[in-house]
Structure formats: C-alpha cells, structure tokens
Symmetry: C2
Subunit: 302 residues, 2 copies
C-alpha cells in the first residue's frame, strides 16, 4: 500500500485529509507532537515526532519510508501567525523535511499553501497569472518554501504540487474565526452586529479541502493549484445562511458596525486547474455544508 | 566594541571581510567548523560550531551576543553548488540563524547574495528594477532567504542588507575558476586556448568585496546592493592583462575553442547604490588587482 506521511495531521486541514486518503487506497502515516483525539486514531499510523527537531523527523522517515508527503504543519496561532517569527522556523523545517523526505526515498510532495501568497489585486486569482506578492510574513514564508521546492523538486526526482487554500471553514475551526463565531452567537441567542458584510470570499468546507488535497495528491498535476469552491459569496450570504438555518435571522444585524476599509472587497479563486486538471469539484453546495457545520458545532456543546 | 559574528569566515568571501571589519573598529567573531589558517587567527575571535547544527549555533550566539551578523556560509562545491540539494539545508540554516540571532539581541544582518538571483536579461542588473528570476536552485534558494529576511526584519526590529556579488577573484579563489586557472597555466608556461572570450563580466577583487561588505555593514543602507566594480570588461581583457603581466602574451590563444552559446554575452551591475548610498568605490583599477593576484598565486607555489 502506498504510504503517505501527513504533517499537521491533528490540525484543522491535515485531519480532514486522512479519511479521503484512506478512501483512495493510501496508508496514511502521521507525525505529531500532540496526542491525536480518539476519532483520528484509526485513520492513520501515528508516530511521535517534532517537526522543529530534525532528528526526530529523520527517525520517522527512516522508519516509515513514505512514498508521499502531505505537508500542512505550520505556525497557526490565530491572528499572530501573520507575523510571528516562528514563520522562519517553519520555513526552515519545511525545507529540511523535503530534503530528508527525498533522501528517504520519497516520490511526491503536496503542500498546503495560501491565497496570501498572491498579490490581492485582480480577481479571480489565477495560479500562473496573478503575481506572487504577499503582504505578510506568513505569505512570504510560504512563497519562499514554494520557490525552493519548485526549483529543487526536479533535481531530486520528485513530483510536487502546492494547494493554495482560500477560506476553509468547518469542524475543528478555531473558534475566533468567522463561521464558528457566528454559530456560537446564534446558539447563544445573541445579536450579531456586522458592517454591510459585502466583502466576497471563496469559502470551502474543510472536509472538501481535505478531499481536494487527496485528489491533488492522486493526480499527476504539478505546481500550484487553487483549493477553492470557485463559487464565491459575500460574508453576508454566509451569515444569513447560518442565521436562517438556526431560525434566528433577526439576530444578524448588518450595517451596525463601521466598515473596515483595510479588508479587500473580493478574494476569489480561478478553479480551472482544480476542476479540469485535477478533476475535482465540490460535492455539495455551500448552504448544505454550512448547515452541517452548524450541526457539528451544536453537537460539540452537548 | 561592537561585535560582529561572521559566518563562512574561513571561506573565499568571509575571510576577506575580517581585516576591513577590524579597520572600521569592529570586533569580529567567527563561527567555524574548520580550523582557521594561522594568518586568519588574529583577525577574529574564533568559536567552534556547525551552522547546520542549530544547537551549536545557539550556544555561540548566547556566548557572544553579537550586535551584527555577516552571513556568508553556504554550500560552495565548485560546479555542484548550482544544483546541490545542500542548498535546501543552507536555506533552512540561514533562516534559523537569523531567528536565533534576533532572539540573542542582534541588530543588523548583512548577507552575501548573488547576481544569480536576477533574471539575466537586461543589463546592467539593477537592484530595484531587474526582475528576480533565478535560473538555478542556488539562485532560488538565495532569493528565498532574501524574501523571508526582507519580510521579517522589520517585525524583529532588525536592519538588514543584502550584497549581490558578481565575479569576485583573488587570493584563495577555487583553483578551477577562471583567474586561478589562467594564472596556473601562465606559471606553467602552457598555452591557454579560448573561444573569442568576448563575454563581458563585472570582476571585482575579493579583497575589495570584503571591504565593500564591511562598508555596507557600517552604512545605514537597507535592502539589496550590488557588490561590483561598475567597470565590466571582457574575459579576453582579463586574460590578456594577466598574460602581459607574466610576459607571456603569446600563451593566450583566442578563437581556438568553439563558443559556448549557453553563456550570456554580458553580466553587468549597476553600482549606483554601492557608490552613492553606501559611499564605496573600488580603491584600485582591475589591472593592478590582477597583477597583485598573480603575485599572490606565484607566492603560493614557493
């Protein structure tokens, strides 16, 4: 069975790749510092390791000898990750991981990238046309990892792909982020004040993100691929959909807050590569995924 | 006294920065895996360490607590360094070094970069105009380090500069490279066959490169700065100058080899930033530096 080592496998994105990898016939191995929660246990072979300690990573690579690598582990402290100096450590650790993976006989690397690598100018952002001009340390560090991987993979005999994620939401999202915050407010019956919430984003359920990464790994596609729905909506649409599902439409109050002019009006993705080259399309409409996510959060409260 | 930690201090570039740093009133500290040769010993405080082992670097940083960092250490195996996978290790080690230097209280970082970071299209190459589009893994890795350093330095409260070197020559150059090879041939009285040798390059004596880096460190200039003479010449001019100095002009035979069409006709540097902002100019003409270099190699033979 083809072995794939997943990093960040207890994190928001990585955990949702494990079932889709298994569904495609792969044997997922995970390297983690945390204890995986019980639901994750049967989905992978778990190895204790710290990605910021190279020796421990090498030991796992030597033991597993994975064919594939799905790399998601990174600094993700809410808010802080945009400029945290730990971004340098994760850049370094990523490159060391790639080098050690190749030395251990690895064949294909797929990495979690971000729409923050792009210049946020012309929409939709398109893999081989939109300039790469990050506005954050996080975006620069991800982009630097991609630059090195792109230049090196051919020399190392590796194939590689780079999934640029847009706005994932869903189970296990950090509670400070939009969707969990709205759901928590609705469940508490509190009013939710917003500005006009007209900003448009490409939201995709993280279960679909995980499946898209498994599909990307399975495909022969190389290079950067946007991981997005291709069906962007306004933040208002998301909030209204959740509020309606909760039967609490009146709690969503638009126009009560002053607009944050620092936020771009639109962050959207061209998904031609994902849809046509990888052959992956979102299996369910956004409204359904939002309803399922609402239900998931409600169950967490019990 | 201001302490500056120099990496690669036994290497071709780093060793030539030690005397210029001292001349400007700095206390140079060096971290090295090799034993420094006797001539270098008095020019720095030497610390044993391996830049590819983070703990050993941290120990030196904690002991020295340097104000400044001059970073040159990198994979430099002749020929192989363009595509060697060790470029990934050095990229990672550089970022870890910067992070640890800042944590240890460092203030200013100056790094050895390369003209191989630029797209080799329009000449002369100019820091803020020429696109960064390396053709090699080496160039991509250096560029990735620069991208991260540029994005991070402000967050870390560091000032930074990046010296892009062109074609250094001089004492301790690798014998397989142009100037040492020509000198070795001349000293052996052997004919030196060339193509038309019309390619134009920006050559700068490595002693001047070392002095320019010390000047760059001392200046308040931030960002990328070309480290070059601003007076490019053809390879033929260099060979003829050396052959004439040896009284052996007839050994230089142009037009005897077929031209390598893969080599760019011109690789030249705009030196306005170096000359006007850093305030550094080469102290001697190329012909004089070539004669001194010839003399240095002659003395090595004794």
């Amino acid at each position: 069975m083809t072995k794939i080592l997943v990093t960040g496998a207890t994190g928001f994105i990585g955990r949702h790749t494990l079932a889709p990898l298994r569904a495609r016939g792969f044997e997922a191995h995970a390297i983690t510092f945390d204890e995986p929660d019980p639901a994750l246990r049967p989905l992978a072979v778990w190895h204790h390791g710290n990605l910021l300690q190279r020796d421990s990573v090498r030991a796992v690579l030597d033991e597993v000898r994975p064919d594939g690598l799905l790399h998601f582990a990174w600094e993700t402290t809410h808010g802080a990750y945009w400029s945290n100096p730990a971004n340098l450590d994760w850049t370094a650790a990523s490159l060391e991981l790639f080098a050690d993976f190749a030395r251990a006989g690895g064949r294909r690397v797929v990495v979690g990238g971000t729409c923050a690598e792009y210049a946020w100018q012309t929409m939709p952002m398109t893999e081989n046309q939109t300039p790469l001009a990050p506005a954050s340390l996080y975006g620069h560090c991800k982009n630097a990892v991609r630059e090195v991987l792109e230049a090196w993979a051919g020399h190392a005999g590796l194939s590689w792909a780079w999934g640029r994620m847009f706005f994932p939401f869903g189970p296990f999202e950090k509670p400070q982020r939009l969707v969990p915050k709205v759901i928590a407010g609705l469940l508490a019956g509190k009013p939710l004040p917003f500005d006009d919430a007209a900003s448009v984003r490409d939201f995709l359920d993280v279960r679909d993100v995980g499946d898209a990464f498994a599909a990307l790994y399975t495909s022969p596609v190389q290079g950067a691929v946007n991981i997005a729905s291709g069906a962007p909506v306004s933040i208002r649409t998301v909030v209204e959909s959740l509020a309606e599902g909760a039967g609490a439409r009146s709690l969503a109050r638009f126009g009560e807050l002053k607009k944050d002019d620092g936020q771009p009006a639109e962050l959207t993705a061209c998904t031609r590569r994902l849809n046509e080259e990888v052959g992956w399309l979102p299996p369910k409409p956004l409204s359904e995924r939002l309803a399922e996510t609402f239900q998931w959060w409600r169950e967490q409260r019990r």
